[in-house]
C-alpha cells in the first residue's frame, strides 16, 4: 500500500505508506529520548497488578483497517443497555483518546443492542461533534460500561454515530437517529455537514473512548447558550433545532463515573526501539493519587492547563525561540505535529518529517501555574522506518509538519507516550495541587 499524501492525522492513527522507497537509515539500537525532560518527573509509579480494579489493558497493534494506520491506542470494553446485565456487547478496538471526552461508537457497532435514543421535550436529542477534520453526527443513548477488571461507569450517555443512510437518517423511532440538521438561517445555524467520519472505516476504530481533561464534551458553553454545531432536539419529521444542554446529560468522560478512582487517568506504555514495534501492551490506570498504583510523586512537575478560553487544555510552549505556543499531550494524535522548516519532509510518505538521520529537538513546557521544564522529542526518517518493517504499528519517533506554530501549536502525540506514564488530571478535581485540569509525566513503571 502506497501513500499518496498524508492528508490528516491525529486522533487516531496515521496512514503509513508501507513499501515506499529510500530514506534515512533506521538503526536497531534501542534508545530512549534521554536528553532533557525536566518537565517530567523521575519517580515511577508502582507497577500495577494486572487484576487491580482500576487497571484497564491498552494496546497499540494492527489497526482494525489493516495495514496503513500506526500508533492507534485501543482497548476493549463491555457496553450494555442501561440497567441490563444481558443486553451487552464486548467491543474491541475502541480508541483511547486523551484529547476528547465521551464515548462514541458507530451505529453499526452497537445496533445489536437496540439502544433507545434519549429525547427532550421537543424530540430526540442529536449531537454534532466538532473535530478538526470535520463534524460527526448522532443520537444519544444511556449505557452501562464495564471495564476489564470490574470497574463500571453506569448510566452514562454515549453518542451513537450515524454511519450511513442504511443505518439511520429516519427520524423518530427508538434505535434510529434523527436526520442531521440542515442549515437554519433563522437560527444562524449552519447545520451539521456530517457523514464523512462516522463509520468504523473512517474512524479506524470501533469507537472512541474520550478520557480527556474535561468532564463533558461541550460543558457549560452548551448549558448556558445555544451553540451552533453542538446539541439539538429533533422534532419528528422536521429540521432539528439548537438546544440548551445541561451538563449532567451531555456526553461525558466515562471515567468520572467510575467509583473512587475517577479524578484522572494514567496511560502507561513501555519504551520501544527507535525502529518501532509490531505491538505494544500497556495499562490505563484510573485515578491519580487514589490508590497505591496511581501515585503522583511530590517531585513530579504538574503542568496545569487553562480550563476555558482559547488555551483550554494547553500549557505554554517555547520552541526555536518562539514563545506563547499552545502545547499539549494527546494519545489521539498519532505523531508529533509542529512547525520546523529546518527538518525535511518525506518524499514518499509526504506529510511526515524525514530527517536524514535521527534527531532530537527540545522545547520548553510551562503550565499556567508556572511549573514546567524541558521536553525532548526524537524524530526518525519516516520513509526509512516504514520501508524497513512493513508490519510495524508502533513508533516513538514520527512527526508531521504543520506550517504555523502560532496557530496550530505543538502537539505531543503518541510517540511521547512510549516509555512514559502520562497523567491526565480532570477538571475541578482537587486532591492534587494545582487542581485539574492538568498534565504530568513520569517514567513508565
Amino acid at each position: 500500500m502506497r501513500l499518496k499524501s498524508l492528508i490528516s492525522l491525529g486522533l487516531f492513527a496515521i496512514l503509513c505508506g508501507c513499501g515506499g522507497g529510500g530514506g534515512g537509515g533506521s538503526s536497531d539500537t534501542t534508545t530512549t529520548t534521554a536528553a532533557t525532560n525536566t518537565a517530567c518527573g523521575t519517580v515511577k509509579p508502582a507497577v500495577p497488578n494486572s487484576g487491580d480494579i482500576n487497571v484497564q489493558p491498552i494496546v497499540v497493534s494492527a489497526s482494525i483497517n489493516g495495514t496503513g494506520f500506526v500508533n492507534t491506542l485501543t482497548t476493549t470494553i463491555k457496553v450494555c443497555a442501561q440497567g441490563s446485565l444481558v443486553n451487552c456487547k464486548f467491543v474491541s478496538n475502541v480508541q483511547v483518546d486523551t484529547g476528547s471526552s465521551g464515548l462514541r461508537m458507530p451505529n453499526s457497532v452497537v445496533s445489536v443492542l437496540n439502544l433507545p435514543r434519549l429525547s427532550g421535550a421537543n424530540g430526540e436529542y442529536g449531537e454534532c461533534v466538532e473535530f478538526a477534520d470535520g463534524l460527526v453526527w448522532g443520537g444519544l443513548a444511556a449505557v452501562d460500561v464495564y471495564f476489564t477488571n470490574g470497574a463500571a461507569a453506569l448510566n452514562i450517555n454515549m453518542q451513537v454515530l450515524n454511519d450511513g443512510p442504511s443505518a439511520g437518517y429516519a427520524s423518530g423511532s427508538d434505535g434510529v437517529d434523527p436526520v442531521p440538521p440542515a442549515a437554519n438561517a433563522a437560527e444562524g445555524d449552519p447545520g451539521c455537514d456530517s457523514g464523512l467520519e462516522d463509520s468504523v472505516t473512517a474512524l479506524g476504530a470501533n469507537g472512541i473512548i474520550g478520557v480527556g481533561l474535561f468532564n463533558q464534551d461541550c460543558g457549560t458553553d452548551c448549558a448556558g447558550s445555544l451553540v451552533p454545531q453542538t446539541y439539538y432536539q429533533c422534532p419528528a419529521g422536521t429540521n432539528c433545532l439548537e438546544t440548551l444542554m445541561p451538563t449532567n446529560i451531555q456526553v461525558s468522560n466515562p471515567i468520572i463515573f467510575v467509583p473512587t478512582n475517577n479524578n484522572g487517568v494514567i496511560l502507561e506504555l513501555p519504551q520501544i526501539s527507535v525502529a518501532g514495534a509490531e505491538s505494544v501492551n500497556g495499562n490505563m490506570v484510573f485515578g491519580i493519587g487514589t490508590a497505591t498504583n496511581n501515585v503522583l510523586a511530590a517531585s513530579t512537575p504538574v503542568l496545569a492547563v487553562a480550563d476555558t478560553g482559547q488555551g483550554a487544555g494547553s500549557f505554554a510552549v517555547t520552541y526555536n525561540g518562539q514563545s506563547g505556543i499552545l502545547g499539549f499531550f494527546d494519545s489521539g494524535s498519532s505523531v508529533y505535529f509542529f512547525a520546523d522548516s529546518s527538518i525535511p519532509s518525506c518524499t514518499t510518505n509526504t506529510g511526515f518529517f524525514c530527517p536524514s538521520s535521527q534527531i532530537t529537538r527540545t522545547l520548553t513546557a510551562t503550565g499556567v501555574n508556572s511549573v514546567g521544564g524541558t521536553l525532548s522529542v526524537t524524530l526518525e526518517n519516516a520513509d526509512g522506518l516504514f520501508a524497513a518493517n512493513t508490519n510495524f504499528n508502533a513508533f516513538n519517533d514520527l512527526g508531521s509538519p504543520i506550517n504555523s506554530l502560532s496557530i496550530s501549536g505543538f502537539d505531543l502525540g503518541m510517540p511521547y507516550f512510549f516509555g512514559n506514564s502520562m497523567y491526565t488530571g480532570f477538571e475541578s478535581q482537587t486532591n492534587v495541587t494545582p487542581n485539574g485540569p492538568y498534565f504530568a509525566c513520569a517514567p513508565n513503571p
Binding site: S5, L6, I7, S8, L9, G10, L11, F12, A13, I14, L15, N65, F69, G99, S100, S101, E130, F131, A132, D133, G134, L135, G188, P190, D193, L196, E197, T201, G212, F214, D217, C218, G219, S225, V227, P228, Q229, T308, G309, Q310, A312, G313, L326, G332, S333, S334, V335, F337, T350, G351, S400, I402, N403, S404, S406, I407, S408, G409, D411, G413
Partner: protein, 150 residues
Amino acid sequence: MRTRIQHTLTMLICLAYAPWSMAALGAGPDSVDADQLHFKSERRDSVQSGYQTHELTSPTGTVVREYTDATGHVFAVSWRGSHLPDLRQLLGVSYMRFTAAAQVPHGGHTALLVHDNDLVIESTGRMRSFAGRAYLPGAMPIGVAQDAIH
C-alpha cells in the same frame, strides 16, 4: 420569455440563498459582508501593508479573520476559538477539497492538512480549542508571507 423566467428564477434562488452560498476564501469583496451576517459577528477591519484584515467575532467567541487584497478578494482566512466556525461557509469552493481530504482514510481528527500548490488548509485542535487557517498561495499579494496569516 422562457429565458427571462429562468433568469428571474435563478435570481430568486440566488437571493434566497445569498447569505449561505457566498463563499469567503477566494471570493470577492461582498463576501466579508456575507460572512459577517452569516456568523452574526462583530467586525473589526484594519489595514496592513498590501492587504486588509477583517476580524469577525461570533457570539460564541470564535474569531474568524479574513484577509483581502487590494481588489477586495479574500486570499486567506484563519479561525480560532472554543468552537469551529462554519467551514463550509468560510472555505467556499475550497470546502470540497477539505471534505475530499477528510474522506481519504486518514490519521484522525486532531488535524486535517491540505498542502497543495494552489491551496493550503491547516485545521487543527481538540474539543474546546480549535484553530486553523487556509490560503491560496497563488493569490497572496506580493510581499505578504504565509506567516502573516495567523
